[in-house]
Subunit: 517 residues, 2 copies
């Protein structure tokens, strides 16, 4: 492995890049600033960055903490229409762990992870909460892969499935939920476990799916644990400036100087890039590999570091998106503050924490594989229905200001995929507007966890909607930290959140067993 | 108008015929008896019998009691996929009456009829409950036509839309519900009536849609009035013998002799038909027109009269499917009992009540237009997802015994439409199993009305599921009688049912206004 790609942080960065760079290649955008990347629909969830080729194919997986078998279910391509080609099937992958299961006779519960936009093995391995609590609940664990991700690709190959909207078009959240319903009902039948209660769980987009699954399929699951699920991050509900406001606040609350240095750096980078030899100077300052540099690719690369660090600003060391120290924003700001007046040094050191915490990378490759991952699944979803409104940046933003403009997103999607987004479909189908009134008297048994450091928390449910649709909010938390493996360094509040979740799950189960008694 | 088609009962009979006769033409069915018609998926709801050509095209309609304007909404063909052809649109018809509406400033309510399998004008004209109560509630009335029925035909014409599964395949209940959500949200926006609460209402399949709409789109409506909605009439929930058992009991409870005469008639008809000149004798006995007779077509024609009379066994004169006297089963049985021993006379007189109550028909045409209406919408729905399990007939049945056999339905559907039914899809997507437990703690604000004379009531919700998901059951009631116009002769129990419904609707509205205050 060469020094350029030595760290997993670097690999992740390459994958992140694929999404961000797409819009760079479109030069017709009428952007008001020179930062072309901001016309993109929304920042991807971190989980979209993981591609199946990073994980070895297995028939089962076992580590000290994680164990599962890999199975496949013959899934229907189109659940909602009866056109002949909709009857086509594909192999949907799911992982199953029955090590702790109490079995069908005891009606022991089934915990199902509603897989999101990526390889399901990666989600399983990053959802320690389920493995750690399975013994207590005697729960069967099931992780279902989302259609069009990982190995669960219709038409036999990504090449065909992602080719264009004719084959890619069966990628939708409604289809994914119906997949889960079909698979769970069939699995329970095969296990003679019809009476085993199902609880669904998920983080990020997976948490949105868990929420919606509980709302749309209450006959298939008794409750949902939805972690960092921005189900309200849609047009006319959550401000499109919320996301970047939270990133800004994350840094600013750490150090006013840090915030200012980062905020001012964009103009400095721009001025430097315009000067003769400026790009060379930038290359040297940020240790960019010789093969490629441009102002846009550099600023995108830096922005990503700050955004993803905000999402994963965990109080303990982690290696979710990249190996990171505990409190990485604090570390970044410390680097910025310590650098004093030296041009770009602080910014570089901060980026280095995200991209190269292990210290293995010799230089950073800004052009890596940007087309290989171009037409990935999340990009398509973000351009069809998942119009998470996050692009806006105020004058106060740590990033260059940008007036949120849906038309630009639309143009971007038209040019990238040849399709028109349906920006109101998600709220039409799943709701979101006026959610306090609607769910006050409808539905039950949902936990919404949000950590307020997470830029996605602005689109989350932050207050109880009813007695059993409850919000757990952690001021110091970040993106679905509750679902991660516990560690010795976990702060008290995090242990309390998990205890609370376990307590609520127990209540749901108790109620279920009472109801069927 | 010739004497053959003089009565509207006759016209309806011709339309009914189209559905029943389809299976007759398939001679490969391995039926155990000589009654070939019983391999069909399920008896159609009465409303499927009405075709748009029976109603004159209008831009508005006004009678003493009924008034509406006709409007169109540009609807998306496929809500759940992003394939390019799914973006195609069609004109969805809806009817609107704002005569009594209190308007958006007062947040006056909107009552929406979730149209079922037929021309929406016919439903509006047969849903007096909405017109009669609009003034009290100051409600806007909206009747939305179901896709693929009436004028709401994709692809510009029935000829193309019904051609084969490639174009017909976008006819599904999930798509219909999404249509309603899209239309209602858009309409409210256009009327600046975002704060006006919506209550959905429907009878029969329309009642199933109203129920499911409340369950799937609680953010679009605050409650549902579901009349005679057999949402449980699916495999493994309601017995497939329930439907015909209720028909049997309807007649038997009137007169044991009547039941026996009808029950024994099938064998007598069969024996007569086998004799030389027997069909001629049958033709004379039943006043069948000279153009066509067969044993199967005759028995189908008689069975239909008994089944549809059971559905519409109202305590007041009606002209829903056909002009009928009050208590038509009582009248039929009186005719049978009065006829004494005279071969077929009682049966003929009974059929005459259904087919010729006005006395205009000179003879009955058994072959009328059976192919013109062959591939109608409901037949397709009954062969794809709406697998209402109703075909079984016990040894005690008033009809010839038939052991329910899903495989025959499947073969019928394969041969008729070239498609495989998805018999478990409805319960997978909408639930139904274990409904008492599921809805005890989920959802709210649904009224299920059922009249126990109605053969569909066996698949209805007959007990309260929670404080606000309630069942109103009328021992003497028939198919969605509560939604019909009130008449002077209405029995006390019927007035009480309607009063109760109005009271519950008022409570929902009161609660809503309190919640948003």
């Amino acid at each position: 492995m060469g020094p350029e790609m030595a760290s997993s942080a670097m690999t992740v960065a390459a994958l992140i890049f694929s999404l961000f760079s797409l819009s760079n290649s479109i030069n017709t955008f009428p952007l008001s600033s020179h930062y072309r990347s901001i016309g993109r629909p929304s920042p991807p969830f971190p989980s979209s960055l993981i591609k199946p080729e990073l994980l070895k194919p297995t028939i089962s997986y076992s580590s000290e903490k994680v164990y599962y078998e890999i199975k496949y279910f013959t899934q229907t391509l189109d659940h909602f229409n009866y056109v002949p080609w909709g009857y086509e099937t594909f192999q949907q992958r799911y992982l199953i762990n029955s090590k702790y299961w109490g079995g069908p006779i005891d009606k022991a519960p089934i915990f199902v992870y509603t897989g999101n936009e990526g390889d399901v093995e990666w989600f399983a391995q990053n959802t320690g909460f389920m493995f750690e609590n399975a013994p207590y609940f005697k729960a069967l664990l099931v992780f279902i892969e989302h259609r069009y991700y990982g190995e669960s690709i219709p038409y036999g190959s990504e090449e065909i499935a992602y080719k264009n909207a004719s084959t890619h078009g069966y990628l939708s959240s409604a289809q994914a939920l119906a997949d889960y319903a079909m698979l769970i009902i069939d699995l329970k039948k095969n296990l003679s476990a019809e009476d085993s209660p199902v609880v669904v769980m998920g983080g990020s987009y997976g948490g949105m799916l868990a929420t919606w699954f509980r709302l749309k399929y209450p006959h298939v699951c008794i409750g949902a644990l939805a972690s960092s699920a921005p189900i309200l991050n849609f047009a006319d509900i959550t401000s499109p400036y919320s996301f970047n406001n939270i990133v800004t606040e994350d840094f600013r609350s750490e150090s006013e100087n840090c915030y200012k240095v980062i905020k001012n750096s964009w103009q400095k980078i721009h001025e430097t890039a315009q000067q003769p030899g400026g790009l060379e100077e930038l290359r040297k300052s940020f240790r960019i590999c010789p093969n490629y540099i441009s102002e846009d690719s550099l600023t995108n690369w830096l922005e990503r570091a700050f955004i993803y660090t905000a999402m994963t600003d965990y109080p303990v060391p982690s290696s979710f998106l990249a190996p990171l120290p505990a409190f990485p924003i604090e570390q970044m700001c410390k680097a910025v503050d310590d650098a004093g007046d030296e041009q770009f040094k602080g910014i570089y050191e901060a980026a280095n924490i995200f991209y190269n915490y292990t210290g293995d990378s010799m230089c950073f490759n800004l052009s890596d594989n940007s087309d290989r991952h171009g037409l990935n699944g999340w990009g398509f979803q973000a351009c069809t229905e998942m119009l998470l409104a996050t692009g806006g940046r105020t004058q106060e933003s740590i990033f260059p200001p940008y007036t949120y403009n849906y038309t630009q997103t639309q143009e971007y999607c038209q040019q990238s995929y040849g399709i028109n987004p349906r920006p109101h479909w998600i709220t039409t189908h799943f709701g979101g507007h006026d959610i306090k009134r609607v769910l006050k008297r409808f539905g039950s048994n949902i936990i919404f966890f949000n950590g307020l450091r997470d830029p996605w928390s602005g689109g989350g449910v932050l207050e109880n909607l009813s007695d059993s649709i409850v919000a757990l909010v952690a001021k110091e938390g970040a993106h679905h930290i509750d679902l991660r493996f516990s560690t010795e360094g976990d702060p008290m509040w995090l242990s309390e959140v998990r205890k609370r979740e376990i307590h609520i799950l127990s209540m749901w189960l108790e109620q279920y067993y009472k109801d069927i008694a």
